[in-house]
Amino acid sequence: MSKKKAQGTNLLYQLIGEARGYDDVIIMGRGDPDFDTPAHIVAAAKNAMINHHADSTPPEGLLALREAIAARVKRVNNIDVDPVTEVVVTNGGQEALFLMALAVLAPGDELIVPEPNYNTYADSLAFAGGVKVEVQTYAEDDFRADPADVRAAISDKTRALLLVSPNNPAASVISPADMREMLDIAIANDLMILADDIYDLFVYDEFEHVSPASMPGGKERALTLNALSKAYSMTGWRLGWIVGPADLMARVRELKAAISGGTSVISQHAGIAALTGPQDAVEMMAEAYRWRRRLVLDALDAMGIKYGLPQGGQFVFADIGFTGMDSGEVAQRILSEQHVLAYPGSAFSKDRKDYLRMTFLQPEDQLIEGLERMKVAMANIVAEG
């Protein structure tokens, strides 16, 4: 594909390809924490290779892991689930979201999605034959999804509502009051809820994360996904889960069996160690993200770039509209000139050509260096244009 024509995800892949060619590149886009998986989890995996490598697993996962997951969602999210019938282990959050879409949506069904959002939702929805109905959110409101807009988007084909909180890429967190209203809307219109809690441990300042399944009337109509990828720096292990009401989860189990059969027992044992072992590494990493978030926001302020305040998650969605250029072009310029890769907003939504997504998942020295270089590139862009 020629450079000029690439758009959306293709453009992103092209930029990633170019970035790989630079020895000194600093990647400020990818959602992969820089920390390696904590050592005690790796040690548990090694132990599992010796002692449990041949254990069989049902499609829904080992009971010991499902019990650890049930305990975790109770402790962190206040969701009550039965580990026997209401938990399915998945190949990461990604398989979980694919399964949620397939479980709930039939061809022609509409899913209401606050935008911008994690791009895979659109792809999974397309596979299921569902229709995405977008509800826009804006930087000036810190990307708050307004329940009134959700209500207005409902049609007789609406089946479900997607709530990713904290959000990727917009980093907004749905407040408890808004979440209650979203749930009331779902109940009043008999909609299912697909909740993505993958960033639930990353919530900043006074903001508060709440799972819709923890609220009265929520559990029976919500499927909630999570994964160890982000919080435990375990992106390469491919371990996530869905929890929800037993009747729907029985269907999720069949879909999981149809799509991949089961989940690696080694990753599952690592997951048991992650969830039941010491949590100080998780807290240490979360603390690092808090500090890096401050670094990024300060640098953006210094560059005069506006953004929606990241209330949670691991990203900043920055508005570069003032350059008058498409974010793809801006990302291309920053990459070619300064070897820094920020992800163009157009990779997340066709309507977000004015945005760049930046992560704070790099070691501090690289982050500082990357922001310095970006400052130079942005100054050049502004001076020229």
């Binding site: 490598h53 109509r221 491919r238 879909l255 149809a258």
Partner: protein
């Protein structure tokens, strides 16, 4: 208040018999479990060392969607060596196990075709993969006398009737029966003449002494044939879920992008373990084949002495028997698990893994 929306969703799923086909365990759940897809194998220390060293060195992050480059390369080489195929690393996608290979290939390649021809007797994982998103299926009649494989003529008839994509297993995952090289050549010729494509599960091929014919080795394979299987079978990785797809170049982008959508990549522990296992595979398989041959021949004799009908099969890792419902029930009561042919589409047949426990199971069966 009960949700009508949820009731409708549930009713849709419950009516989907393909999706609800039985799933088989990836590995034995206990010593008397003879029904699992994978066999019990010890795990070589070198595999443990390689996988844990990779993890300790920080291979705990996302890796390339189609798999780590050295593993893709090893899988291509081993397929070429064993089946005479001509794959490049770029033809290979590493998957999270055989079922993901089935799902990705059936659903993505299937998008380019009006329907898919599927043998009336096939591994239930195929039905499940088909059930996720409705596809028109052309049922290929099978020959019970030929280990429940579709006859070459049945395949030719389906192609003559307009079917342009076929899903085939050889060896059969129920009986181990495999097409001969001549039959494979005839199938390939028929497909090629019609410009038809095939997905070929040759995953049990390594358990046929002297190898077995593969569509991947024919002239047409680079353009039309996709092969799938377990990445390094029999090496103790059955529960690690690692498989492959070897596909024509033009099919790779669609499957790779679907792999990204549904899983991002395959677990690094499994990939590094499989990479080490590829180095040990040839030797280990030689030993294993010798053991399996002995067990299977003993089993066949025991079955004959007990008047149990054995369905001939080339693959040595499984043995298929005719068993009445009463006999199957006795087997279950004695604590044995087996793969029920009914879930493959062949009631009255059972599949046992070939190992030291199986002869005791035959006693229970008779």
């Amino acid at each position: 208040m009960a949700s009508k929306t949820k009731a409708e969703i549930l009713a849709g799923h419950e009516a989907n018999t393909a999706l609800n086909a039985r799933s088989l365990a990836p590995a034995p759940r206990h010593a008397k479990d003879l029904g699992a897809d994978g066999m019990f194998s010890p795990l070589d220390e070198r595999i443990i060392a390689a996988a844990s060293e990779a993890l300790e060195a920080g291979q705990t992050h996302y890796v390339d969607v189609p798999g780590i480059a050295p593993l893709r390369s090893e899988i291509a080489d081993s397929l070429n060596r064993e089946t005479g195929a001509r794959y490049e690393p770029g033809n290979i996608i590493i998957t999270a196990g055989l079922q993901e290979s089935r799902f990705l290939s059936i659903q993505k390649i299937g998008e380019d075709f009006e329907n898919i021809g599927v043998p009336a007797v096939i591994h239930p994982g195929v039905w499940k993969a088909l059930g996720v998103r409705a596809r028109e299926v052309v049922s290929l009649p099978v020959d019970a006398e030929r280990g429940y494989l579709p006859a070459v003529q049945a395949i030719a008839d389906a192609v003559a009737g307009g079917c342009r994509l076929l899903y085939l297993e050889s060896p059969s995952r129920l009986t181990g029966a495999a097409y001969t090289s001549e039959e494979v050549a005839a199938i390939a010729q028929g497909l090629s003449n019609a410009g038809a494509a095939a997905i070929w599960d040759g995953g049990c091929g390594p358990w046929v002494e002297g190898g077995c014919g593969s569509l991947a080795a024919t002239e047409e394979s680079p353009e039309h044939i996709t092969t799938i299987g377990e990445a390094v079978p029999g090496m103790g990785l059955a529960s690690w879920f690692i498989g492959y797809i070897a596909a024509p170049e033009d099919q790779i982008p669609a499957m790779q992008s679907q792999k990204q959508i549904m899983a991002i990549c395959t677990s690094t522990a499994a990939q590094f373990a499989a990479l080490e296992a590829t180095k040990l595979f040839e030797e280990a398989r030689g030993l294993r084949l010798g053991q399996l041959a002995q067990f299977k021949s003993d089993l066949t004799k025991t079955a004959a002495s007990q008047n149990i009908a054995v369905i001939a099969g080339d693959a040595l890792n499984i043995i298929a028997l005719r068993a009445s419902e009463a006999a199957s029930a006795r087997l279950r009561e004695a604590g044995y698990e087996f793969a029920d042919g009914a879930s493959f589409g062949a009631p009255g047949v059972i599949r046992l893994n070939v190992n030291a426990v199986a002869s005791a199971a035959l006693q229970a069966l008779s």
